[in-house]
Amino acid sequence: MLLTTSVGSLPKPDYLTQARSQTRRGEMDPSRLRQLEQRATGEWIKAQEELGIDILVDGEQYRGDMVAYFAEHLGGFKQSGLVRSYGNRYYRKPILAGKITRPKPVTVDWWRFAQKQTRKPVKGMLTGPYTIMDWSFNEHFPSRRAASLAIARVIHEEAKDLERAGAQYIQIDEPAISTRPEEMDLAIEALGLVTRGLRAHTITHICYGDFKTIGPKLRRLPVDQIDLEFANRGFELLAFFKGKRFPKAIGLGVVDVHNHRVESTKEVVANLKKALKVFKPDQIYVDPDCGLKTRTPEEAKEKLRVVVEAAQAVRQELMN
């Protein structure tokens, strides 16, 4: 009960950030970059083990953007010219330009690499079809639904391969769901194609959004666990679940990833106890609100340390 984990991304060490821009400028060989990505992945696996986390992630040291990474490795996508995302930040947004194919597995080698270094389970980490569709331009498919379902079919293949390789937990992130609650049914349909027939414990992470609209449909998401941000809105989401007997496991985000301040173990313990009035202990997985990639490596470790300490303290109390 109260198993600890993280949502996916972990910060890249400085040497890797530098190596990535050197590679982009053609000043570093991609094979050298890959070595550094492996080094950073190994360091994060070790760090998570030392912190005492129960379900590990590979930290996505080799990914830039969660959608672009899949677009680069799947067939049917083109890359666009520069588009501004905010302030002075630009990125290349994927374009759905043809039939979506998966020439070879995208994440399985990295998952194997990470799992080899630990006895604890490492999660398979995928981006969901609805989010890949919503965060891409579409020049090929007649509708958003057609695009989502076509992407879902290849993400399903990827999930099957992760499962075959031995992944016990597979997370399929759908942060875009919260932006267009009116399309929740489409997201559910597409995610259903991904998780169909999987035996692994499946999870989806969705961001905070219009809970009045999407809240009632959460139970229909075809996964075993739903991971949500609780900390950054002061745990007000708990009120939504109160008295509802939520039928799935819940990933409980207990530290805010957008804030430099590291929460105290005491406050996280208090919030976990509040959550235990709403959910059963074995229903709860404890983690940060979202991926930690925007924090410094030190901040990320401190935040994860608090997650683990708080979960352990509450477990102790429950067992006594």
Binding site: S85, N88, I95, N138, R180
Partner: protein
């Protein structure tokens, strides 16, 4: 039909003018570039963006909002009473804006956009419109720690935007547009939005427009017709129902219709656009409308943004020649 755009245009063009804005802004942030050096880069890009609209043949131009990070920031940071907070999502886009926080009574201390407007206007002999956020969207997308009242905040913003609009009119702007994307989301307070825009446009002699985009107006089209503006901008792409709803609403304003998707790279064909004009023609005389992409074009890479305005012009010209 009068061709125009909703406002913004890509600030960088790998395939055409330049990408130097990116480097210039980061050097300016590191204080390696002075304000006037940065301004020269903005002016160069503004000129290029205006030139592209002219060459494409558009009738009513904009400065491309090259200096704008988002719809609220350029105004909020020049007013008293605001601080700029962290990033929030811009409506239903995977794009972010910095959320202004109001912590004391907001105050306009002098013209904000006049100098930029004057520079842009002298780059072309065609009419160039000025663009401002609408008061309702401004209040809705900011955090109100002072009034703690949507009504009071919206009305205060309306007074401020009125002063800025007066200044722009005085600087020669023949057409002033107010963007109200917030009207397409949740359940907007239409009465308040309409009242506020009335405060903004009171006594203005320039032509005024209220533009909506993203989202869906659904049943609010009728109340929008009561807004005290000359032109109402409607997004026909994001919510295809809008055009059907138009059939059931008495149209009391000139309409500006968003006919091409400013958020997707797929280029509409001339045939598709002609089919849409045919539908529109059954609802109102085409002579009385503006046509434009449904949203600003900065959601697109430059190549596709340019193609959109070229295609718009091509479709309008060939429609007239049928």
């Amino acid at each position: 039909m009068i061709t125009t755009t909703v406002g913004n245009f890509p600030k960088v063009a790998e395939d055409a003018y330049t990408t130097k804005v990116i480097g210039a802004i980061s050097r300016w942030q590191r204080k390696e570039l002075t304000d006037s050096e940065l301004e020269r880069v903005f002016q160069e890009v503004t000129k290029a963006v205006i030139q592209e609209q002219e060459t494409a043949g558009l009738d009513l131009l904009t400065d491309g909002q090259v200096r704008w990070e988002d719809l609220l920031n350029p105004i909020a940071r020049k007013l008293e009473g605001f601080e700029i907070n962290g990033l929030s999502r811009w409506f239903d886009n995977n794009i972010y804006y910095r959320r202004p926080i109001l912590h004391k009574a907001p105050r306009w201390t002098g013209p904000i956009l006049v100098r930029d407007y004057q520079f842009a206007a002298q780059c072309t002999s065609r009419p160039l419109k000025a663009i401002l956020p609408g008061p309702y969207t401004f209040a809705k997308m900011s955090e109100d720690r002072y009034y703690k009242s949507e009504q009071k905040f919206t009305r205060a913003m309306a007074e401020i935007l009125h002063q800025e609009a007066k200044a722009l009119e005085h600087a020669g702007a023949p057409f002033i547009q107010f963007d109200e994307p917030a009207l397409g989301f949740a359940k907007p307070n239409m009465a308040l939005a309409v009242e506020a825009i009335g405060i903004v446009t009171q006594g203005l002699k320039a032509k005024t427009a209220l533009y909506t985009y993203f989202g869906a107006l659904n049943g609010n089209l009728g109340s929008l017709m009561r807004a005290k503006v000359d032109v109402i901008g409607l997004d026909l792409v994001s919510s295809p129902k809008t055009i059907m709803n138009l059939k059931h609403v008495p149209i009391k304003k000139t309409l500006a219709l968003g006919c091409l998707d400013g958020r997707n790279t797929k280029l509409e064909s001339v045939t598709e656009l002609h089919a849409l004009f045919n539908v529109i023609r059954k609802i109102l005389p085409l002579e009385q409308i503006y046509v434009n992409p449904n949203t600003g074009l900065e959601f697109l890479p430059h190549e596709q943004a340019l193609q959109k305005i070229q295609r718009l012009q091509e479709a309008v010209v060939s429609y007239g020649e049928r």
